[in-house]
């Protein structure tokens, strides 16, 4: 990959798309001229600090704010009772079953707190220090209630988190699928396999994770103008505006939301938060701009967490290893309240447990459950990492059971490249892919056969450091999402995206996009797309985003959707500009529009040397002295694009680990991935996305876990204990690509933001388990800490979990021989 330097204009045109352009957004970021929300100050601005519950479950008997109000610099202290009539409830937009229980979620707790960290009062003062000082003077009396931290325990309904809904189960969703050739539903397929095949069961744990974006959340509300303005370090300014309006009863036209520079999100800023609601309500009440910036401790405690799922997977196969049926039974921890997407996040996995394989029958069975823990929602991959982990782990385990090479087992079962487009058992049409090609390339880069020989050698030598090799051949659904599909899945909004092109009179261009980058490099990539299509220099394209007053329509950035949906909207808008400009150019050239060709920024009359540049046409549209009758004096165009389908990146990831059997320490010796994300706009940015994604997935496998103690206090409440790895903890990564263009969009692109995270976790854990196979080990719970790996080597139970994820011996036993889920009939859901 070669980096292209700033090019002078006027040379032989070279395509921008595909070039490793250095990012335009870097200049301010490398010089410290950034606009993080917390960097901003407004005249008369007040500062807020939150009083948070130290208890995971308690009734609030009284809140005494008198002393805090008398503290120097304090302007106001606001409690839940103060806001009870106006704060409404925080929104959940995904009712995953018609019967879903969605309890109210006040921004400031009024009578009960349900997780440690929940806000019980808010102090407003002239300085951040004064606000912080007064927090300690707010005297809250709590009556502690019993605490339920695990979903299996919660399903017993002995202690209710929300007594008003009468149960801790929010929803039970069952989706059943079978192909035409199947002998029946998944139960029939499993039954058939029991008599004449193999049935293989496994239980896996998705530990609770914390997204840990580097910029703590910050927000400022200015209520002093006609429009109330909210700056927030959010991924979703547009969605936030709609929901603020709907939830707080403020006319949408009176609200403006701005996401300025945003320091990472990874799903963690895909939320409508209590802090944002409180900032808006308090600022409007006081009539003064108010700012709230969380501390890291607050962020870890109260910004939403991710994953947190018990999985029971049943695989049916023929004796030769051909898989036939798959059942995924899940219990997902929602935390204390349903978040914005709530049960929708695990539901996003519903289509992906079957992965790249050809099953006859498949059932997805999901229970969403409340506990006295921080709420959960999207974290990079959202639903799909959980699914990919389960299928890729069980394929490795199954290969071992059969005595087959794990890649051979996969090849036996995956969709071959001739079979595309292929409708998966879950009903998705995979448009394109070539699993064979990606796998062959990855094997070669990795030196697969040689490493297998090395592994044999170390096993034979009884080497203290054993080698493990892990495989993950994944696909994912990207480009959230076709609006009709979202409608069918009962999500409250659509999944289209919007873009505008503004042709400025002097020939430069403004691109307005409805997606909201927070590190992804959209300004650069969008400029490359538009530069090629309009034939203008890269430098002459300006990309505007993240402010509802400028980018007035949009559905923001998550789910690897920006390019696949938002980028296509840009293309559509460009096409409209060219169409409009062609009419004006034809008039200028005294030709018929049908005779005009547009290439490299120039409109020419076919078969002549007569032409006008786009800039000349833009000026003509601006001065409007001589436009054809009925033609508006503007080349600007808007487009909203709604995809027909998802896109399906895929790839093969291979990981080699050294496992020190003496200490349990795991070191990644080699990591190779070959991803197929279709066409690439900027290979440098793509590589960066893959690196970062891989590391977050590796980190789930080896380092990260949010742990509560038995009283519901977050033990991993700072970066001292919540282990985000730094540079020396990570390996050099070898990344490469194959390129099978998507057939479902004009750019041939598939999305890349989440691929690395989705694929890498099972590759690493498979490698760890593979190293320990000689010890009879078939699972190590994540994160595969040295302690757990050592326990596995010692032959001790490694099912011993932290209190967030205990394995209940009666209901979630690890041998899987009985395994009925604790309540209800696992096959009888309420949403068939």
């Amino acid at each position: 990959m070669t980096a292209v330097d700033e090019r002078t204009t006027g040379e032989t045109p070279q395509l921008e798309v595909g070039a490793a352009r250095h990012r335009k957004e870097d200049q301010r970021l490398i010089t410290g001229r950034t606009r993080w929300t917390d960097n901003m100050s407004l005249p008369g601005m007040l500062h807020m600090a939150m009083v948070r519950s130290p208890f995971a479950h308690a009734r609030i008997s009284s809140v005494d704010v008198d002393e805090a109000k008398r503290s120097p610099g304090v302007v106001a202290v606001i409690t839940g009772s103060d806001l009870a009539d106006v704060q409404g409830t925080l929104p959940n937009v995904w009712t995953i079953t018609p019967e879903q229980k969605t309890p109210a979620h006040p921004s400031i707790a009024v009578d009960t707190v349900r997780f440690a960290g929940e806000i019980v009062a808010c102090v407003v003062a002239r300085t951040p220090a004064a606000a912080r000082d007064a927090v300690e003077l707010v005297d809250v009396d709590y009556d502690e209630l019993p605490v339920v931290l695990d979903t299996v325990e919660a399903l017993k309904d002995e202690t209710l988190i929300h007594p008003d809904i009468g149960t801790n189960q929010s929803a039970h969703l069952v989706m059943d699928h079978q192909t035409e050739s199947s002998v029946g539903d998944v139960d029939a397929v499993i039954e058939a396999a029991r008599t004449d095949g193999i049935v293989f069961e496994r239980r896996y744990e998705q530990q609770r994770l914390i997204p840990s974006f580097m910029e703590p959340r910050s927000m400022i509300c200015d209520p002093t103008g006609e429009q109330t303005v909210l700056w927030s370090s959010t991924q979703i300014p547009h969605i936030l505006r709609v929901l603020l309006a709907m939830s707080l009863g403020i006319p949408e036209s009176k609200l403006r939301v701005i996401a300025p520079d945003v320091g990472g999100g990874f799903g963690g800023k895909l939320q409508v938060t209590p802090e944002e609601f409180i900032t808006v309500l308090v600022a409007r009440r006081l009539g003064k701009p108010c700012k709230y910036t969380e501390t890291r401790s607050e962020s870890l405690m109260a910004a939403h967490h991710g994953r947190a799922q018990h999985q029971k997977i049943t695989l049916a196969a023929r004796k030769d290893g051909t898989v036939t049926g798959l059942k995924a039974e899940l219990i997902a921890d929602m935390g204390a309240y349903l978040s914005l997407l709530g049960g929708g996040t695990p539901k996003l996995g519903a289509f992906m447990f079957n992965g790249i394989y050809k099953f006859d029958a498949y059932r997805f069975d999901l229970r969403t459950v409340f506990t006295n823990t921080a709420w959960t929602d999207a974290y990079r991959g959202a639903g799909r990492p959980e699914a990919t982990f389960a299928i890729e782990r069980i394929m490795d385990d199954f290969a071992h059971e059969l005595g087959m090479d794990p890649l051979e087992l996969r090849a036996k079962n995956w969709i071959t490249h001739e079979e595309f487009p292929f409708t998966s058992v879950a009903g998705l049409e995979y448009d394109s892919g070539n699993y064979e090609a990606a796998t062959a390339k990855a094997k070669e880069l990795f030196g697969y056969d040689e490493l297998r020989r090395e592994q044999e050698r170390r096993r034979a030598d009884n080497d203290q450091v054993q080698l493990g090799i892990g495989v993950s051949t994944f696909t994912e659904m990207c480009g959230l999402a076709p609006s009709r599909t979202l409608g069918a899945l009962a999500y409250a909004a659509g999944g289209w995206e919007h873009a505008s092109i503004r042709m400025l009179p002097t020939g430069t261009v403004e691109v307005v996009t409805g997606v909201t980058p927070h590190g992804q490099g959209h300004e650069t990539a969008w400029s490359q797309i538009v530069a090629d299509r309009l034939g203008v220099p890269f430098e002459n394209v300006e990309v505007l985003h993240g402010d509802t007053q400028i980018a007035h329509k949009g559905l923001d950035t998550y789910g690897s959707r920006s390019l696949v949906v938002g980028g296509i909207a840009v293309v559509k808008a460009v096409e409209k500009v060219i169409e409009k400009a062609t009419v004006v150019a034809a008039h200028m050239l005294e030709a018929s529009p049908g005779d005009i060709e547009f290439a490299e920024g120039r409109f020419s009359v076919r078969g002549t040397d007569q032409s006008k540049t786009l800039a000349e046409v833009a000026w003509a549209a601006f001065d409007a002295h001589d436009l054809p009758d009925g033609v508006e004096p503007s080349l600007d165009a808007d487009a909203a694009f709604d995809p027909d389908t998802f896109s399906y990146p895929h790839g093969t990831h291979l990981c080699a680990v050294d496992v020190d059997t003496e200490t349990g320490e795991v070191t990644i010796a080699k990591y190779v991935c070959v991803d197929d994300i279709g066409k690439v706009i900027n290979p440098m940015i793509v590589e960066g996305q893959v690196h970062g994604g891989l590391v977050q997935g590796i980190s789930q496998a080896l380092f990260e876990e949010a742990v509560y103690d038995e009283s519901g206090t977050l033990v991993t409440g700072s970066f001292v204990d919540y282990l985000v790895p730094s540079a020396p903890d990570l390996p050099h990564l070898t990344t490469d690509r194959t390129e099978t263009p998507a057939t479902t969009n004009e750019l041939g692109v598939k999305g890349v933001g989440e691929a690395g995270t989705i694929a890498s976790t099972p590759a690493v854990v498979n490698a760890v388990v593979d190293a320990l196979r000689p010890w009879g080990v078939d699972d190590v719970p994540m994160p595969c800490s040295p302690h757990r790996v050592w326990q596995a080597v010692q032959g001790r139970s490694v099912g011993e979990r932290t209190v967030t994820q205990p394995v209940n011996p009666e209901t979630m036993q690890t041998d899987g021989s009985s395994g009925q889920l604790p309540t209800g009939d696992a096959t009888g859901g309420d949403d068939r």
């Binding site: 401790s297 876990e705 282990l723 540079a727 800490s785 040295p786």
Partner: protein
């Protein structure tokens, strides 16, 4: 987050610091490098009313040769300990351990004496000082006294240092010609030690003649492994012999159990890490 309010003094001599300390009593905290104190003050887990910053007392900084010992000023930052040729020559294990403290920025500010006085059981400075038989020089209203490292660490975050006293320097008997190694076990690089072992070894002709071993985070205070030291004396510097000699290193210890590992695991680690530290220190 912001610490609570406090009054700040930055004396330029030890005497002045002692007077300030006497005046403020138990409301005062001494600020050395601040790399542990300031974070806990930010989290409001400590809220002293008076902070006495020792950072302007030049006399407390630096490493000097004092014949039989090297003397390290309490306010010498970790990175100067790492870079000191004297420490490297005469107390190699200390040099190695200092290089593992936290991260480069913290090593630029954090101080040797501050780390000892803080007495975090997972801190990396106490064990090597204990292994090398260091002595801590303390100034108080009644003058100067010297406390052996073995008597200095009393409990979690608790030392023999009185409320009106200041740790001024640390004397480390020279271990010239000894090998040294600090074997630290963590899950991520910037983590506190789960367990660590400081070993200093004098080896001749492939045999260990003398050894000094101390353990980090195997209890409320650093632990000197004297029985293991005795077992190592005269042992060939090879893996099997050393393994046998150090096998009982964790006997009688009460290490913590936490999210990074239970006590059994730590005891097991202690033996493995001791073997590795001793072998590395003996150049094997």
């Amino acid at each position: 987050m912001i610490p609570t309010e406090f009054d700040y003094h930055a004396p330029e001599s030890v005497d002045e610091a002692l007077r300030l300390l006497a005046g403020a009593g138990d409301e005062a905290k001494l600020l050395a490098g601040g790399q542990s104190l300031l974070p806990v003050m930010r989290l409001r887990m400590a809220a002293p009313e008076v902070v006495i910053d020792l950072g302007r007392i030049e006399a407390l900084r630096g490493v000097r040769d004092d014949g039989e010992s090297i003397v390290i000023g309490a306010m010498t930052p970790h990175f100067e300990v790492v870079e000191s040729a004297l420490v490297h020559e005469h107390a190699l294990v200390l040099s190695e351990a200092a290089a593992t403290v936290a991260d480069p920025q913290v090593r630029h500010r954090g101080t040797f004496g501050g780390a000892l006085a803080h007495a975090d059981p997972a801190g990396d400075m106490p064990a090597p000082v204990l292994a090398l038989g260091g002595e801590l020089v303390i100034q108080g209203p009644g003058g100067q006294r010297t406390v052996a490292a073995a008597d200095f660490f009393e409990d979690y975050f608790t030392t023999a240092l009185g409320e009106d006293e200041i740790l001024t320097e640390i004397r480390i008997p020279k271990h010239t010609g000894w090998g040294g190694h600090y074997e630290k076990f963590t899950r991520v690089a910037q983590q506190w030690s789960i367990v660590a072992v400081a070993a200093a070894v004098r080896a001749e002709g492939g045999s260990i003649t003398e050894a000094r071993v101390a353990l980090t985070n195997m209890g409320s205070v650093p632990i000197r492994a004297t029985a293991v030291e005795q077992a190592l004396a005269g042992t060939p510097a090879d893996a099997d012999s050393v393994r046998a000699a150090v096998a009982a290193v964790a006997e009688g210890t009460s290490p913590p159990s936490d999210i990074n590992g239970d006590a059994d695991y730590r005891r097991h680690l202690a033996a493995v890490l001791t073997r590795r530290a001793v072998l590395a220190a003996s150049g094997a």
